[in-house]
Symmetry: C2
Subunit: 742 residues, 2 copies
């Protein structure tokens, strides 16, 4: 029995054990692999890569017809900053974002100094050509022909001094420093006390106004010369997109040492802000007024004095003379320049919308554009606004379908950009602590379509790689079988004339709302637009800041099928979603090293001998650049070793990536313009539009050989100091990438 039982029981036991073992193993496998631990419900989301289908779905969603309708709505009426129509646009944007399903959208007001032309019939701004008895020979118009909306302000140069000056005219070409030097020293014409006339172009008009004032002009007339806006053989508006003789470029003429509200540098223009006296705001001290070439030709005709040099001859059918005054039967004529502007502190509204991040809501990817315009703004900047609205709608749709970005996407629609980048600057000044701490990048698009030739781009080196990769994923607006990257580099190659190089990405100067983010706060930024073939034409889109920037301009000439706008939206969205969703931020620090090396080479080429003559070597700067380069290489290698399943390790490298740009900020700012604090890039001090590398050094070295001897030693001391500051800043930035620094 015992044996029998034994014999009979053994298989039972064996079977039971075997089944139990199989069950156990199976159970362990199931328990371990198949059931997520409730203790770590976040682990998957925290370490997940972005869904690669999202950007593709976003691209498909962006609809040209919607953009067209957006622009038609936005440009229905003029919407200058600080007035009711612009507030209406801001409200429309807020309402749309809420309708699209944004998590928040609100108007954010700032009280800033704005300037408008007087509409008092007795105080109208104008330029007149007068006989000695006061008879008017020619006079500028109060409005461009065909611009009939009563809300359209007459052409003016905002923040000009008001005044009434009369006298002899002098022609000063583009009113650049070199033009004035040529005029005074080379050509022997004294501009002191004269009314100067300059053509628009080459540099920012605010720089022209300051130079005219520095060279003693009593007033400055700005006009659009056909050479810069109406090339022979091309139809002018309304038959084409060139500038007609009646068109006038508006624009502000501030050359302040800061952007944003004139009265509240560094701090937001809120209800308790401390406001400067207006005379401390660096506004022009002379009257400045813009006119059309139809009026300019009458005023420039019959001028006395030497013939202007060949390269000063513009596109009008006259021989340009320098003046002063007139010759022959016209010799008793004078020019009168009257400017009356009213300045007042008024409210401008930013619109801020958000789609909150699911995993890292405290990290922001910001897309921005301004909603104000000089008149209708169908290019500047409502073309960008029309695209931004459609981008918002598409992202809202993705969100409704279940997607939410890893990081927060912030939409900024800025007010009063045209008056000096005011709304965005006040916003940055107001929230600078949070923005510097939390922002991954700022992606600006002002004029989405100023032309249809090619995309154009300026950016921080940190974003170059992101831009290139995104462009490879977006179809060309004209040849959808090709991608934007390939058509772009054909039209605008990095190395001039060599389409085998990468597409050209420029350096950020100023001129749009990226400025406060990049130059003041040290946030990686880009600015993109489509343009005409500026390299061939030698100028940007001709109807710039005129009343002819209408819906029809886009619909008939620039982008009749609206695919240029669409492609901007696709590129913008591709970049925004990639930055918002990527586990490891797609910022390539090696491009910064390459950019710094190139800039140092340029510095050495331009100033090396001059510096050596003063016993100033570049070896410490070069050593800092080399250190930076090594740090980027090491950092890049270490990125490959990061445990992507460890959210803190990923966050740590992302923090270093996104804060590298901020490491180039010197809190003391640049000499003589401390609001600009980026040591590597600033707007050129001779042309606000252009980007200047190593600006502290460049300004100290600017024309140093021609400085008067008494000041030269001071300037060389400044060069020495700025070289040390630049070197230290580059080295500091390198250190932010180093592990275990201490």
């Amino acid at each position: 029995m015992a044996e029998h039982r034994g014999v009979r029981k053994r298989p039972f036991i064996l079977l039971g054990v075997a089944c139990a073992v199989v069950g156990l193993v199976l159970g362990i496998l199931i328990g371990f692999f198949a059931i997520p631990k409730s203790g770590t419900p976040w682990s998957a989301a925290l370490t997940r890569e972005g869904d690669p289908s999202v950007p593709a779905r976003l691209q498909r969603e962006l609809n040209p017809d919607n953009i067209r309708e957006n622009l038609r709505t936005l440009t229905a009426r003029p919407h200058i900053a600080g007035k009711e129509m612009d507030l209406g646009v801001a409200r429309l944007i807020r309402d749309r974002w809420l309708e699209y399903g944004f998590d928040s959208a609100r108007l954010v007001p700032y009280d800033v100094l704005l300037a408008y032309p007087s509409r008092d019939p007795n105080r109208l701004s104008r330029v007149s050509l007068l006989e000695s008895d006061g008879t008017v020979v020619a006079e500028s118009q109060q409005q461009e022909a065909g611009v009939n909306d009563p809300e359209a302000e007459p052409p003016f140069n905002a923040y000009s001094a008001s005044g009434d000056v009369q006298g002899d005219l002098v022609y000063v070409n583009f009113a650049r420093a070199e033009d004035f030097q040529t005029l005074v020293q080379g050509l022997g014409v004294d501009a002191t006390g004269k009314i100067c006339i300059a053509r628009y172009g080459k540099i920012f008009r605010g720089n022209k106004a300051k130079l005219a004032s520095q060279f003693g002009c009593a007033g400055l007339i700005l006009y659009s010369d056909p050479e810069q806006c109406a090339v022979a053989g091309w139809a002018v508006w309304p038959d084409g997109w060139m500038m007609p003789s009646t068109g006038v470029q508006r624009g502000n003429v501030k050359d302040a040492k800061w952007k944003g509200d004139s009265l509240t540098p560094f701090y937001p223009a809120n209800e308790y802000a401390y406001r400067l006296d207006e005379q401390d705001a660096n506004h022009p001290t002379i009257p400045v007024h813009p006119i059309s070439y139809g009026v300019a030709v009458e005023i420039l005709r019959n001028m006395a004095g030497p013939e202007a040099p060949v390269d000063w001859q513009g596109g009008l059918d006259i021989t340009y003379h320098l003046g002063p005054g007139y010759t022959g039967p016209a010799s008793s004529r004078t020019v009168r320049l009257v400017v009356n502007q009213d300045r007042e502190v008024r409210t401008t509204y930013n619109v801020i919308g958000t789609i909150r991040g699911a995993v890292e809501p405290d990290r922001y990817v910001i897309v921005g554009n301004h909603h104000d315009a000089w008149v209708y703004g169908s290019v500047d900047a409502s073309s960008g606004t029309a695209v931004m609205l459609e981008l918002g709608r598409a992202l809202g749709k993705l969100k409704a379908e279940g997607w939410r970005p890893r990081r927060t996407i912030v939409f900024g629609s800025w007010g009063a950009e045209e008056q000096g980048i005011i709304g965005s600057a006040e916003f940055v000044e107001d929230h600078i602590r949070n923005l510097q701490e939390r922002t991954v990048a700022y992606l600006n698009c002002d004029s989405a379509a100023a032309g249809n030739f090619s995309i154009a781009m300026s950016a921080s080196p940190l974003l170059h790689s992101l831009i290139r990769e995104a462009a490879k994923k977006v179809p060309d607006p004209h040849e959808p079988s090709k991608n934007l990257y390939d058509t772009w580099r054909l039209k605008r190659p990095e190395e001039e004339g060599n389409p085998d190089t990468r597409p050209k990405i420029g350096r950020l100067g100023s001129g749009s709302d990226f400025t406060p983010f990049f130059q003041h706060a040290g946030i990686a930024a880009l600015d993109m637009w489509n343009d005409i073939d500026t390299a061939s034409f030698g100028f940007g889109y001709p109807l710039y800041h005129s009343g002819y920037e209408t819906f029809d301009l886009q619909d008939r000439f620039i982008d009749p099928d609206w695919t240029v706008h669409q492609s901007v939206g696709r590129l913008w969205g591709e970049m925004a979603v990639t930055l918002a969703d990527a586990l490891v931020l797609p910022l390539d620090v090696r491009d910064y090293a390459a950019a710094l090396q190139k800039m140092t080479d340029e510095l050495r080429d331009e100033h090396g001998a001059r510096l050596a003559a003063q016993n100033i070597g570049l070896e410490h700067l070069e050593s800092a650049i080399a250190k930076f380069t090594r740090a980027t290489t090491t950092f890049r290698q270490s990125l490959g070793d990061v445990d992507k399943l460890n959210p803190l390790a990923v966050r740590a490298v992302n923090d270093r990536l996104m804060k590298l740009e901020g490491a180039f900020i010197d809190p003391l700012g640049l000499p003589d313009r401390p609001w600009f604090r980026h040591v590597v890039f600033a707007p050129s001090s001779v042309n606000t539009y252009a980007g200047q590398s190593f600006p502290g050094l460049a300004d100290a070295l600017l024309d140093i050989d021609n400085v008067n001897p008494a000041d030269q030693a001071t300037r060389w001391e400044l060069v020495r100091k700025q070289l040390a500051v630049t070197t230290f800043t580059v080295e500091s930035a390198a250190n932010t990438l180093v592990n275990n620094l201490f």
Copy 2:
């Protein structure tokens, strides 16, 4: 058969299934609960609270005998900054840290301007009382009696101007602004061109030197009056710890607008630094020299002029007169002040050591102390160094036993603190980007034991709660059955005379190495020490900066059983480890709100009526404070809701906590002293040692009723501006705590 088999098989199957099910369930349980997922090996460590046994083990490990031996070694020789002996101390510290098992320890050099007294027999600094024929009546000594080490520098006031002046003496009490005003306006004594003599005390000596210069003195003699250093009935050194008649307080007399190297404000003093000319470095412009009261009594005796006011009478056994000059048989005597100092750029070394964090190596808890001393420095600051070495050893032991902190602990042993907080300031300037980004807090201990009466503490409000909780865990050095918190609040209660209140924690001024971290970089900081009963005595430890700060002073009088030192180490270690290991940082933002409210009340009490008379209201500031208070309450509540199992959510709240202090930094700095950038706390501009709340406002309001009328409007404008800046900064700081700001 079939049936038979069937009958026979069923139990087999049932058993097998049963065993399999049991096994499966067991397996699932094991697989789910008992085996950590290899895909998330980090999850436990990333979300684990610090081991509560660690601080307790650390406290037990700190050994008084080791601290005693450390101090004996450190004080064996004089070790003034920039000389070989101090480099030896620095090397010793580095070697010890490496020996203790730190992950790194290295010397970090800076080349800074240091000042030493000339040792040339023909150029010795001195104060002499002379007869008209040149006979010396009394003269200061080149060394304090009993100080015999040839490496001990003669007493001097570093960065005094060199010079040789002779003339009439004037007594100026403590050389405070109010003393000079009383002297000149109330008492009618002209200090212009006179050699002034002032007693040490009340304010920082650098402020005295600047005021003496501003009031036209030709030179300044500083002496230690017995009233401030040798109370009757207490034995003087070497029989006690009061100051003997031969002792002299050394110390620098810089009142620069920045701390750190005189020549390189804002930037590190490295090999390529741009250095100011010495005349731009804000050094005193007159000779300044310190003497003992044994010499001072001879010089003050027989002075002419009115009797000094009662509260100007010091502790010497004479009647103090104001001068100028002498009376009676002494009337032809004069005083000669000779100062010869050599300044040179020399290398000072910081020692930086680290114990790297296991989970967040990019977050730093920094403990710091300086290693240089005027002579032996047995109090200042080697007592702190002795403790820091023992703390390092104990942490190294814990590490050897398997512990590693969550965050990195950085040890900083600073050079050249005595010459103007130089080593730490250069380090902060050098690494400010990483330090601002990564530092949780800076915990300073300079003189661990200047007395044995009680612990003393100054700190950012953010650290108050941490300090109080830590003090509750440390036994009192004299009554181990009580905790430090209870004995401390008995001796130094928050509310004077009320031991039921919490212990008093002061506001940070300047005076040690926390200054660059807190005032310049905006890193939460504290400073702690033990002191004599300063409230009763009316002064700090008497042998301060004299050659009598020796090992014996500690071993015989201040801390014979070394438990005061030990308790400092325990408190320091408790706080450091808590900050380094806590999952959620133990920083309480509500204490900041309370502090701001208190400061605003003080501001209103002191200046409300004066402000109202100028139509300046405090309502916006009060509204910002209220907003800040609400933000801290909401933030504190939200801390309770944070998913502690989500490492990114925890990191996000920790980032806000640790960066709140930095939100009070204004990059533009305070008016007239932009290196000081904390808007809420700064060293008082009339006494560098003291902490001033809302310093921009306070400076603008300082003595404003007595400013000459021409400047008064300017000062009121400054008040308006600083009120706006202060309000904005508080509001900005509140915003850094707000979720979903946009």
